[in-house]
């Protein structure tokens, strides 16, 4: 497939990239735009490491063709802290020292922010539901759960 110019809106900035339109958004972010905070883990929507927001919804960028992102507002881990929820979640994450290896955590945070944007008082069951697609091989789940509750409290 040939390369086309596609204009993306990433973290509030317009970016034009020349890539094949079926290239997953993940690789455009990472390799073309060098926004490497978004991670590759599986390439098959199985792990959540690549989670970003498109118009406020959490999506797996490994399985989202870049063409589908044209015209959408894309937020990545590099930009999520500009928002109220993102900032609260990052602070809660740091307050509890959630991270271990950290590789999954961009995706965890993006999923957590999307959850809290839609539900300011999530229950444990809500968290299991919303975070079920995000693997953490270091198993930081106890703290992920606690940090989401902390962030919810700070946003209340």
């Amino acid at each position: 497939m040939g390369h086309f110019m596609i204009t993306l809106n990433i973290n509030g900035e317009e970016k034009s990239v020349a890539v094949a339109p079926d290239t997953p958004l993940l690789w455009v972010l990472r390799d073309t735009l060098q926004l490497t905070g978004t991670k590759y883990g599986c390439g098959m929507s199985l792990c959540g490491a690549c989670t970003v927001h498109m118009d406020g919804q959490a999506v797996r960028s490994c399985s989202t063709p870049v063409s589908a992102a044209a015209g959408a507002k894309v937020i990545t881990i590099e930009g999520v802290g500009e928002g109220v929820t993102g900032k609260a979640v990052q602070q809660a994450w740091q307050g509890l020292d959630v991270v271990q290896c950290g590789y999954c955590q961009s995706g965890q945070i993006m999923s957590a922010v999307a959850l809290l944007d839609g539900n300011r008082t999530p229950t444990d069951a809500d968290i299991d539901q919303a975070m079920g697609g995000n693997l953490c091989r270091c198993a930081t789940y106890v703290r992920i759960r606690a940090a989401i509750h902390d962030a919810a409290r700070s946003l209340a």
């Binding site: 199985l46 590099e78 802290g81 991270v99 590789y103 270091c138 930081t140 789940y141």
Partner: protein, 727 residues
């Protein structure tokens, strides 16, 4: 390609028949010169482990890989404690690969991270380093203020002379401190004077790992760098017979296709194009020497082997005779599958050749070994291989690669293109899952005898499984046919049993590459021994905790954690019952690994259809002095989750030589809904610290399976548990 430097040939790696073994002599002067060259003049760099700048920053040089276990934070705490630094002024930097300064003292002349040894081997070394720097800062203040040394106090990064009201920060004294002689002897603090050690200090890597700025190997971009994705053979032992590169080269952005010993590599400017090129390649494989293993048949062979005596790892009394005269005997067999490490960041490596050798970027876990492997391939001296150790997105033992598999693969690609461009090798998840170096499959057979009073009088434990030490730099662990890492946790069973025999078969011709996996031998020995002990306690009509304690009189640290966990878990009170149709159970296990002692009580709920969940895990740990209790807790939480993941679901299986699993749909790590509550209780200690990364993994599976047995009466003896309770 560069020519090797003459004169450094003292450092040599001998290729032995069984693999790479280390025989190293260290050119100390080379390392010291290198250190001098690197030190900026205005900075105080009293030793290899820290640097204080005039900007008042204290930079701790970490010789160990940060792969999530919190070692950067722990190592920095030890330095900061003796230095009396303020935690906020401390930052951490990765040490270069240089075994003359940064060897793991537990490993001898080799730099690397593993065996839960980072804090243990660094403890004295970093206390000395911090104390020496502090003494030099004090000496500088003495000189500047002309007051006696004992009238100066140091706290939170500030030196003070109270009588005159003078004070100075580390940064203000850095330049003067650098002029002071390095003290030959320093006094270390008494543990009762510790201010930072034992506190919950914030992790040093939290901020950059929550805002996306932390750099992993996967994130490295170098000018002109090419990204490589490799077509690997479908079976271990297969080789490239022929390939057609045209369909790959036809893809816009594919730069080159090269054959390497482990497959065919496609190089492109970006990862996705390289992957598309790899997928488009047509490769014919020569499978004449390929693996044809099937897991089911391998287990049959292991079981047949277990019928015959193996190499004896421990022999006390006459277990055969004691079994013959026992009032009651029990026997059990346990099966363990291959396991993948499945770190969230798949294996990857960046290598760039330059005029003076090569630069490499990756989550290096055995720097000295990796230097040797790369030096040999490139015809360099090991010190010409510069390793920039980056954060690793998990390892669990995988990045301490025997033979350097993925590192060497990167080097072969660089070599195949004559070093024209830097190369980043990216293993996609499937490459990683099917890339081998697994926790070996094992079969255990245990027999035991109880006398008429219910005392355990005979114990026989036979293990069958591949050696992980074979072909590694740790081959010395193999003595008289016994790989110590195969029988750790079994040969040193702590229980007082008068007649014991532990023996081992090590089938050598399996053809599946195996490697250490978080907690190594204890991943299977803790399970078989602690499940069988539990079964025996039940047969003897005894309480599982009391029965163990009665046999642990000579092992007070095992007994200590066991008593503590029983008390905190409320072992003597009945477990709260479940809702309608739910059965609940509680199980216990205790195990020593890497010098640390861990006991766990797991509480489970089993539904009427056999589905189960682990509700709560209470853990007691004795790992000596605790540097950071919150990091210990994190490792316990993570270790519990990692071990539960394997116990519930994980298996790498083979069908006719093919790995049956490829990605997270068929090799499925624990997700958040299955994570239990975790409680930690630490035994206070003044003993030197031991490790915490691996030990909490060991007792989890037996505690859970014992709990499931308590709930259902069914003893699971084959891991993973999977659907076995639903039948």
């Amino acid at each position: 390609m560069t020519r090797p430097i003459e004169n450094h040939s003292r450092r040599r790696f001998l290729k032995g028949a069984a693999g790479l073994t280390l025989a190293i002599y260290f050119p100390w002067s080379f390392a010291q010169n290198a250190a001098k060259r690197e030190a900026p003049a205005a900075t105080f760099e009293p030793n290899a482990f820290l640097r204080i700048g005039e900007d008042n920053a204290v930079t701790v040089i970490a010789k160990h890989l940060e792969m999530g276990q919190g070692t950067y934070t722990g190592l920095a705490t030890i330095v900061a404690e003796e230095l009396d630094a303020d935690w906020s002024q401390v930052r951490v930097e990765s040490a270069p690969a240089d075994a003359s300064r940064y060897n793991n003292l537990n490993w001898g002349p080799m730099q690397g991270t593993g065996g839960s040894s980072a804090i243990a081997n660094s403890w004295e070394q970093l206390r000395q380093a911090g104390a020496a720097a502090r003494a030099m800062l004090v000496a500088a203040a003495v000189q500047r203020w002309q007051v006696p040394a004992d009238s100066i106090t140091v706290a939170e990064g500030v030196l003070r002379h109270t009588a005159s009201g003078r004070q100075a920060s580390f940064g203000e004294l850095a330049r003067a401190a650098a002029e002071q002689p390095v003290p030959e002897q320093v006094r270390l603090k008494k543990p009762s004077d510790f201010k930072l050690i034992g506190q919950r200090l914030a992790r040093k890597d939290s901020a950059e790992k929550t805002n996306g700025s932390a750099i992993y190997t996967q994130d490295i971009h170098l000018p002109d760098m090419l990204t490589a994705v490799v077509a690997h053979p479908p079976r271990f032992g297969a080789m490239v017979a022929s390939y057609d590169a045209e369909p790959a080269l036809a893809i816009d952005g594919v730069v080159e296709v090269v054959a390497i010993p482990t497959g065919v590599a496609v190089l492109a400017r970006d990862t996705w194009t390289a992957k598309r090129g790899r997928d488009a390649l047509r490769v014919e494989w020569n499978e004449s020497a390929a693996l044809r293993l099937s897991s089911a048949r391998a287990f049959e062979q292991f079981r047949a082997l277990a019928e015959t005596p193996g190499n004896v790892a421990r022999e006390e009394g006459d277990s055969e005779a004691a079994l013959g005269s026992a009032a009651r005997t029990l026997e059990a067999e346990y099966d363990f599958p291959y396991l993948a490490h499945a770190a969230m960041e798949p294996m990857n490596c960046v290598i760039r050749l330059n005029g003076e050798g090569c630069d490499t970027w990756f989550g290096a876990q055995m720097q000295t070994h990796d230097q040797a492997v790369l030096a040999e391939l490139f015809g360099l001296e090991p010190e010409q291989v510069r390793i920039h150790t980056l954060y690793a997105g998990g390892s669990f033992g995988r990045r301490a690669s025997k033979g350097g598999d993925y590192i060497l693969e990167t080097a072969h690609i660089v070599k195949a293109i004559d070093g024209r461009a830097p190369v980043k090798l990216v293993w996609l998840r499937e490459d990683d899952m099917q890339g081998g170096n697994y926790r070996p499959m094992f079969h255990h057979r245990l027999r035991a005898g109880l006398d008429a009073q219910g005392q355990l009088v005979a114990w026989q434990h036979r293990l069958v499984g591949q050696s992980v030490a074979a072909g590694s730099p740790f081959e010395g662990a193999i003595q008289n046919g016994i790989d110590a890492t195969s029988v750790e946790g079994a040969a040193n069973l702590p229980y007082a049993i008068p007649n014991m025999r532990v023996d081992l078969h090590t089938p050598g011709d399996i053809g599946v590459p195996v490697q250490w996996w978080r907690a190594v031998g204890s991943t299977h020995t803790a399970f078989s021994t602690e499940c069988f002990i539990d079964e025996l306690a039940q047969a003897a009509g005894q309480d599982p905790v009391a029965w163990r304690l009665a046999m642990l009189e000579a092992h007070p640290r095992h007994a200590g954690v066991l008593k503590l966990v029983a008390e905190k878990a409320g072992w003597s009170q009945p477990l709260e019952s479940g809702k309608n149709g739910e059965r609940r159970g509680r199980g216990v296990a205790v195990h020593e690994a890497f010098g640390s002692f861990v006991a766990q009580v797991a509480e489970v709920t089993v539904e009427s259809d056999g589905r189960y969940r682990v509700d709560r895990v209470v853990c007691a740990v004795d790992c000596g002095i605790v540097v950071n209790p919150d990091v210990v807790l994190a490792q316990v939480e993570g270790g519990v989750g990692f071990a539960l993941s394997a116990a519930m679901n994980e298996a790498i299986t083979f069908t006719d030589g093919n790995v049956d699993q490829s990605n997270f749909h068929d090799y499925s790590p624990l997700r958040i809904a299955d994570m239990p509550r975790v409680e930690l209780h630490i035994v206070p200690s003044t003993a030197a610290p031991t490790g915490i990364g691996e030990p909490p993994v060991a007792p989890l599976a037996p505690a859970v399976v014992n709990a499931l047995a308590a709930a259902t009466g069914k003893r699971v003896r084959r891991l993973p548990i999977g659907q076995q309770l639903s039948g």
